[in-house]
């Protein structure tokens, strides 16, 4: 493979809408204020209103490729006859998602691992091929609970992105990272000017300053997996999980959590007609692991908190040599009872 030099361009902030206007072959999404203090990805209706001045969204962008509910296939069966199955593989129109924070794009890379290892997942792949991610470096940490740097990321990480934008004074530094990203910039034509040495120096400075912001630290990341293993039977799991109400928010809003349920939604009982669907599920729910017999391998809150933390900081590391947490801080900020994964790792994941 020939290594292509990343394309670095400059775009006036005022020209963002014009660029978006040239991307009408794609569906466009960007973070927008959905409710008071609630930012989420929404379809771009008026490009001029897109400001890209958002903190992080409440929901991560994983739903574009792994929707909360997805029909796997439709079935119909007349009694006594063979069922007829209608495969419903997704074939979405191409989309561009703007404003993706680097923690979330790193989350996407982890989703890619899960959905392509051993068996490919055609539903995930079908959507993934159609979504282009335009990231936005975090010049300021979007949340006091950010800890991307503590889990090997950075506010200007490029993993999983097709384009990385960095806001500079009145301009965006726009870096194409993949061929898809380069094509997207090419569509902007004259709107983009080549980044000059001074621009490159400015963006480096902005990134260095972004990285200098203090974040919640995890002292010795390399030793966390081993320490969690050693502390597997610690009574502290139960203690730290005591307040948990099992709402599952920590997993639903996590950019890396991928667990799902598969169930039949019946539309008509005779003839039997319906859809086999998959929906997000959570290891924090007691029936997630409950056997039909009633036996439940993880029946306590503590064992379920341990599963969430160990899956991210121990098992995923054992299997894929990287953490399955990208430090977005959502599970910390949005937990209704204040369970804090960084505190848990500090307490049980340090030698």
């Amino acid at each position: 493979m020939t290594k292509t030099v990343a394309m670095e361009k400059m775009l006036n902030k005022a020209d963002l809408a014009a660029w978006m206007g040239k991307l009408d072959s794609h569906r466009l999404f960007s973070p927008a204020l959905e409710d008071e203090d609630v930012w989420n990805y929404m379809p771009v209706e008026e490009a001029a209103k897109v400001l890209l001045n958002h903190p992080n969204t409440v929901r991560p962008p994983k739903g574009f490729v792994f929707p909360q509910r997805e029909v796997l296939y439709e079935y119909s069966q007349v009694p006594g006859e063979a069922p007829v199955l209608n495969e419903t593989l997704p074939d979405p129109a191409p989309a561009v998602v703007f404003g993706v924070r680097p923690c979330d794009s790193r989350g996407l890379v982890r989703q890619d691992i899960v959905f392509t290892k051993e068996y490919e997942d055609p539903y995930y792949q079908g959507r993934r091929a159609k979504v282009i991610y335009v990231g936005q470096a975090c010049n300021q940490p979007p949340s006091p609970n950010c800890f991307c740097m503590s889990v090997g990321g950075s506010p200007c990480a490029e993993d999983g992105l097709d384009v990385l934008m960095t806001e500079l004074d009145g301009k965006y530094h726009v870096k194409a990272l993949t061929p898809r990203g380069s094509e997207l910039l090419a569509k902007g034509g004259e709107l983009f000017k080549d980044a000059q040495a001074a621009d490159k120096a400015a963006v480096e400075k902005a990134h260095a300053s972004a990285k200098a912001h203090p974040q919640r630290p995890i002292k010795d990341l390399g030793k966390v997996a081993g320490a969690l293993k050693a502390n597997f039977d610690s009574p502290a799991w139960d203690e730290m999980a005591k307040a948990c109400i099992g709402c599952g928010i920590c997993t639903f809003l996590c950019p890396t959590c991928h667990c799902f349920d598969i169930s039949d939604e019946v539309k008509c009982s005779s003839p039997c007609k319906g859809e086999r669907v998959r929906t997000w599920d959570s290891c924090q729910f007691p029936d997630f692991t409950m056997h039909t017999s009633g036996h439940n391998p993880r029946e306590t809150l503590g064992s379920r908190l341990r599963q969430r933390v160990c899956h991210k900081f121990l098992y995923f590391v054992e299997n894929h040599d990287t953490q399955q947490c990208t430090g977005c801080g959502r599970c910390v900020s949005l937990c209704p009872v204040g369970i804090d994964i960084v505190s848990v790792v500090e307490r049980l994941g340090q030698p």
């Binding site: 069966q77 006594g80 490919e120 349920d261 319906g274 086999r276 599920d281 692991t289 036996h295 899956h311």
Partner: protein, 274 residues
């Protein structure tokens, strides 16, 4: 040909045998793939069986890999899907996808004595190994089957076990004495101890209720079996079968991919979350 792992193939129920009646009813379903669109499997592997409108259940394949015309599944009526399966008739069509999971390393066991220890419906997952060993009888040393049910009515594969005699030493047990029962009375682990199979050049393969497995392993250790001479299968709730839905995750393993077959040497390193 679709590469969609979630889409089942269709299988017609060719025969249904009632193994055990009553509250813990077990039926054996012989399923033939429709239009020859099937798959091959190894000993120990499982398949996801669909009853459309109800859902899917992961069931171990109870027939041996050398049987190509059909697959058998022995299923206890327990939940929504298995109850729906029990209500089906010969000729009905279900969905089958798989095969899933690892396998018993039967090839490595040639020349060895095989000791099978099963309880309840736990005979089904190890049954393909029994069938394979009998099919290639001269390749293996002594073959012994210990199997027990709560009562004589809970003994599955009754006729098949009877037919094994001659090729295989069969030791049946029931929990409490019944009139006319000439086998052992008591629990399976105790029955094993009465015969005290030798650990030399042997492999023990056990499956049954967790409490049985616990004491079987304890007893086997006492008889001198090393951890890597003891094999069992574990089960966990499963939805996808391909290591993605997260349900069956135990430690770094997904039981649907890395299991269900474990040597005790491997299993004792996993968290006990199964």
């Amino acid at each position: 040909m679709s590469q969609n792992a979630y889409l089942p193939k269709l299988g017609r129920i060719a025969a249904i045998k009632e193994e055990v009646a009553g509250a813990r009813a077990i039926k054996t379903f012989r399923i033939e793939f429709v239009n020859g669109d099937g798959f091959e499997h190894d000993c120990g592997q499982c398949a996801m069986i669909s009853v459309f409108g109800k859902g899917e259940s992961m069931i171990s394949i109870a027939s041996a890999p050398h049987v190509k015309d059909y697959k058998q599944f022995s299923i206890m009526r327990t939940g929504r899907v298995t109850t729906a399966l029990h209500d089906l008739n010969v000729g009905d069509v279900v969905g089958v996808r798989g095969p899933y999971g690892n396998k018993f390393p039967v090839k490595d066991w040639k020349g060895k004595n095989l000791i099978f220890i099963g309880g309840g419906c736990g005979l089904a997952p190890i049954w393909p190994v029994v069938q394979t060993a009998v099919n290639e009888r001269r390749q293996f040393g002594n073959i012994t089957v210990f199997y027990g049910g709560r009562s004589s009515r809970d003994i599955m594969y009754r006729n098949e076990l009877e037919k094994l005699k001659g090729d295989v030493d069969v030791h049946l047990s029931i929990d409490a004495q019944e009139e006319g029962w000439d086998g052992y009375c008591g629990f399976v682990p105790a029955n094993v101890m009465t015969k005290a199979p030798k650990a030399d050049n042997a492999i023990a393969i056990t499956c049954g209720p967790p409490i049985m497995i616990k004491y079987v392993i304890q007893n086997l250790k006492e008889l001198g079996f090393e951890d890597d001479m003891i094999y069992t299968t574990i089960e966990n709730k499963m939805k996808c079968g391909i290591g993605k839905c997260g349900r069956c995750n135990v430690g770094k393993d997904y039981v649907c991919v890395n299991g269900p077959v474990y040597s005790w040497a491997a299993l004792k390193d996993l968290p006990q979350e199964y």
